[in-house]
Amino acid sequence: MSPAIRTEALGKSFTLHLQGGTRIPVLSGVDLAVEPGECVALAGPSGAGKSTLMRCLYGNYGAGSGRILLRHRGAELDLASADARLMREVRRETLGYVSQFLRVIPRVPTLDIVAEPLVARGMPREAARARAAALLTRLNLPSALHALPPATFSGGEQQRVNLARGFAPGYPVLLLDEPTASLDAANRAVVLGLIEAAKAQGTAIIGIFHDTEIRDRVADRLFEVHPEQAFA
């Protein structure tokens, strides 16, 4: 079986033009491959580049060098050179990302925030809302909250909205940055169940889990991200 996503010699550095052109090398020579149904946890000290790697995979950061090969619409596609339009298609159909914090869109009810990626993939709005509601309920978000925009929600509630939005479509590849960071034990158990179910469905998962208990339960292996030598 070929990987759902893999990188070849992926490198990334930041050049800070406003700080005299200081160059911050973060990633170099990263070769990571994840099979369908496999969960790989990124490991490494704070500042090693775990989030940076994940953001490169999602196209939120541009890859500096190397390739990011994603299986999309039955063929391998290099995300490192994909344009904005293609990247949007990839994010709609193949690649999901649950960031650490929900970006709240003013006035949009929680239910629609979760249903939106389903609608974008062609699901009728009512069916999408029903699926969204079921997932939010599973994440213990009371239905009274579904009609409200999440701007006033607690950190843990917002994170559960974010998780529901990320898990709802069933992307073939899912990136999770600290998915359980602000959750209590009961909700962590729900997320554990969602991750296990997604794996069973063949989803390739790349996660950052500071919660080692969750990590040891869901991760098939660790992938060490090495801090680059500064000023190399």
Binding site: H17, N60, G62, A84
Partner: protein, 258 residues
């Protein structure tokens, strides 16, 4: 279905005296895509909108529009009558100053209805019903349908201009600082409204704004202009979170937490 760009511009150049207002600008807009143009004052954003929409002729380059029939038309060669027809039906223009887009002496309902009549609507009752529905959509009390825009606040005038523009369901809408000159709280509400309507109608939008947060909220794609050139472009979140060009880094750094 094979998708093609709605609008395609190549190598646009335009000088005003010694000022290069546009210098080698190329871009594409696809159906349903919201593209924001940001950049400092005088960088050529308004000039670019005016050239793309046929209001100004460039010194160099070309702009092609693909109509609903699939045929491609050169915007600067189609002639004034054809351009005016396009402006009435397929395209919309939302001006920064609502006075430039509204008829101030005509009632709110008339402002909306007039656009419908320009594309052939004739039934008075139907036009009034649709105008009422659009006032509701832009959150203007339909009871004010017979008031003129002069009696409206700036935010209401801007929402009325949006209703007037969108009522004919244009395929492509040009917006130049649609929230400029409004209170911050009014701006936020107007942006929400634009975001909702654009998503519901699946419009393609070319939006000029100096508001990075607005661009983040509305745009799929972002172009950064400086001195008549596009210095950086790409996915909105990529350009804002991993800006490459020195000028983009400055722009992002000056609006923390956009």
């Amino acid at each position: 279905m094979m998708e093609t760009p709605l609008l395609e511009a190549h190598g646009l150049g335009l000088r005003f005296g010694t000022i290069p207002a546009l210098d080698g600008v190329s871009l594409e807009i696809w159906p349903g895509e919201v593209v924001a143009i940001v950049g400092e004052s005088g960088s050529g954003k308004t000039t670019l909108l005016r050239v793309l929409s046929g209001l100004l002729r460039p010194d160099a380059g070309s702009v092609a529009y693909r109509g609903p029939d699939g045929a491609t038309h050169s915007v600067h060669d189609m002639g004034e009558a054809a351009l005016r027809r396009l402006m009435r039906s397929d395209w919309g223009f939302v001006h920064q100053n609502p006075r430039d887009g509204l008829r101030m002496g005509v009632s709110a309902g008339g402002n909306v209805g007039e656009r419908l009549m320009a594309v052939g609507a004739r039934h008075y009752g139907g036009i009034r019903a649709e105008a009422t529905e659009w006032l509701r959509r832009v959150e203007i009390d339909p009871a004010r349908i017979d008031d003129t825009p002069q009696q409206f606040s700036g935010g209401m005038q801007q929402r009325l201009q949006i209703a007037r523009t969108l009522v004919t369901r244009p395929r492509l809408v040009f917006m130049d600082e649609p929230t400029g000159g409004l209170d911050v709280s009014v701006q936020a509400r107007l942006l929400d409204l634009i975001r909702e309507l654009v998503a519901d109608l699946g419009l393609a939008v070319l939006l000029v704004t100096h508001d990075i947060a607005a661009a983040r909220l509305l745009a799929h794609r972002l172009l950064v202009m400086r001195q008549g050139r596009v210095v950086e472009q790409g996915l909105t979140d990529r350009v804002l979170d991993d800006p490459q060009h020195e000028y983009t880094q400055l722009l992002v750094a000056s609006v923390l937490a956009a």
